[in-house]
């Protein structure tokens, strides 16, 4: 149960997103979510795409930008306790491959959702608001910044 016995990584959260196959698993997970929503009889295709986008962005917001710290004790005496998972990624270095991938993927999903909802105004507003909720915290300028004290402690 000691962290890093085999790999000497103080905080495994820094490298989890770089593991082999992680991006593929993420893409497959989003695809699976979309297929499940498409299978619901009462949902039309535009509703399924909007729900996919919103649920995906909600999950991304929770797991990458709301949850702070690590789910296991680390030997660095709680240095990462006030950092979100996104801020722990790649030791805080910006513009790494993982950060680029996870920044672009909600944008691609947003494009697909906009296309398949035929740019309906209601869907557009919902999708855009959802996209901004996960894009703004990813900005390099907002690393460690807590606007209005949101999620500060």
């Amino acid at each position: 149960m000691n962290v890093g016995v085999a790999h000497s990584e103080v905080n495994p959260n820094t490298r989890v997103m770089n593991s082999r196959g992680m991006w593929l698993t993420y893409a497959l997970g989003v695809g699976l979510l979309h297929i499940v929503l498409l299978s619901i009889p009462f949902c039309s295709v535009p509703v399924a795409w909007t729900l996919t986008n919103i649920i995906h962005n909600l999950g991304m917001y929770v797991f990458l930008h709301a949850v702070k710290g690590t789910p296991f004790e680390t030997p660095d005496q709680g240095r990462a306790r006030l950092l979100t998972h996104w801020e722990q990624l790649d030791y805080g270095v910006q513009f790494t491959s993982s950060r680029k991938f996870f920044t672009i993927s909600p944008i691609i999903l947003y494009f697909l959702a906009s296309f398949y909802t035929k740019y309906d105004p209601t869907h557009f507003i919902l999708n855009t608001a959802s996209l901004l909720s996960v894009l703004i915290p990813k900005m390099p300028q907002l690393h460690g910044v807590r606007i209005f004290g949101i999620n500060k402690y």
Binding site: V5, A6, H7, P12, R20, M22, L24, T25, P71, F72
Partner: protein
Amino acid sequence: MANLNDSAVTNGTLHNPKTQQGKRQSTGCVKNGISKEAQQNRKAYAEDKPVFEPYQEAPLYVYVLTYMGYGIGILFGYLRDFMRNWGIEKCNAAVEREEQKDFVPLYQDFENFYKRNLYMRIRDSWSHTVCSAPEPYMNVMEKVTDDYNWTFRHTGKVIENIINMASYNYLGLAGKYDDSMVRVKDTLEKYGVGVASTRNEMGTLDIHKELEDLMAEFLNVEAVMSFGMGFATNAMNIPVFVGKGCLILSDEFNHTSVILGSRLSGAVIRPFKHNNAENLEKLLREAIIRGQPGTGRAWKKILIVVEGVYSMEGSIVNLAQIVALKKKYKAYLYIDEAHSIGCTGPTGRGVRELFGLDPEDIDVYMGTFTKSFSGSGGYIGGKKEIVDYLRMQSHSTTYATSMSPVVAAQLIRSLKITMGYEGNIGGMERIQQLKENIKYFRRRLKEMGFIIYGNDFSPVIPVLLYMPAKVSAFSRFLLKKKISVVVVGFPATSLPEGRARFSMSSAHTREMLDTVLEVVDELGDLLNVKYFPLKKSGRAILYNKEGFDNEASFEEMHSEPEA
């Protein structure tokens, strides 16, 4: 790339102890690491040279399924946390008292998430109570759980005659009392169990000096100092060698004790990729060119820290390349031989002997007595000036009690057996038997299709299982079949690389290994962990030279065409 001294060999024969008078005997060696005498025997060494190959990687779907498994586990973890908070499910975890809800919390609740939601489900795979010596067959107390692994209780029964693939009993020297342990018992009566004093006060006894002289002779170095605790040997002594203004280049898979010692030193630490000499050379060159961060001044010291055998990977350090880089860039080399001393190399003197290098090529020899020598504690060896400096400056000599004399006596016994003292050939027999067991076991596992990490000379054999559910299933099934094995998972390893580690011992017999292999073969099919199954060969495979003389084996070969 630096020019490698692949042809370097050194005198591996045992030195006459009478000529050891506090100075290393170097008549057979020359400064550049090439021994004239041993050059004639180069071929014999070349045949046993370790080969470094990249590991097999599992297919991509294995990684995807592993991540999905963790993802599902995390979602269910959140669900159960929700149910516990709302009282739907009974909460066995520690909680803050209601009267203290306005106080600052005593611990971070989220930091316990993994333990109470994921590790708890499989934690019966660890922490068994061993109630015998860690011999090839050992006994374990049976434990059961009534509340899904939150608590356990012992039933009073004992599971007996478990094949022990879990202990680091490489040379088989940990066992029940026998005649060779008479001296250990006498030492207990003469010295007692301990001194309760530090080395710098009254804690240095003549038995410690005897042990250190014997170890210096074994390692072929000028001096050795022993410590009572193996982990502390790294943690308390690396800060003595390097400090502020120094640089430590540490292999990324180094042990936690090395990492702790490096952090305590205050030196700058830069990890290099595991066993990657190119990456190390790049870091060395950059460090020398750029100097210290900020000021650009030259580093006071540059220390390369590697391990002989990595306990989680089973890999062996490519020491020839490391030594070449050390000489080229004038760095220091600190090698941790905790797992490799006693069981690698032709006579068990570690990876330096395995690569045929000069004893002076390594600046600091560190090792533990807890593995091959079946004791406790550790040692640091090297030049006399280094060890004398250590005697005055080491944190352990000032604050820690010295090694128990009973342990020292056991270590002297183990060393004499390993060194072949007084005509005892048991040591060489054990080392050869261990090599045979390692080769046999590794080869059979590879032929079955398992992914094996590590070097073919390494007594640690990790079998990659990847998925956490398979890690626990592997352990439970084997224990049911009376085989014990250590399994490791995240966060000790990387997220997808759960594994089981088989530790070889020279005391394992061929029948024991065949029993284990048979069960592992069955389990591999059951759990689908044979990621690269080989096509079955129609011919009978001979595993040793005696097979040609074996009538049954010949009969089996002869009857093949009829089938």
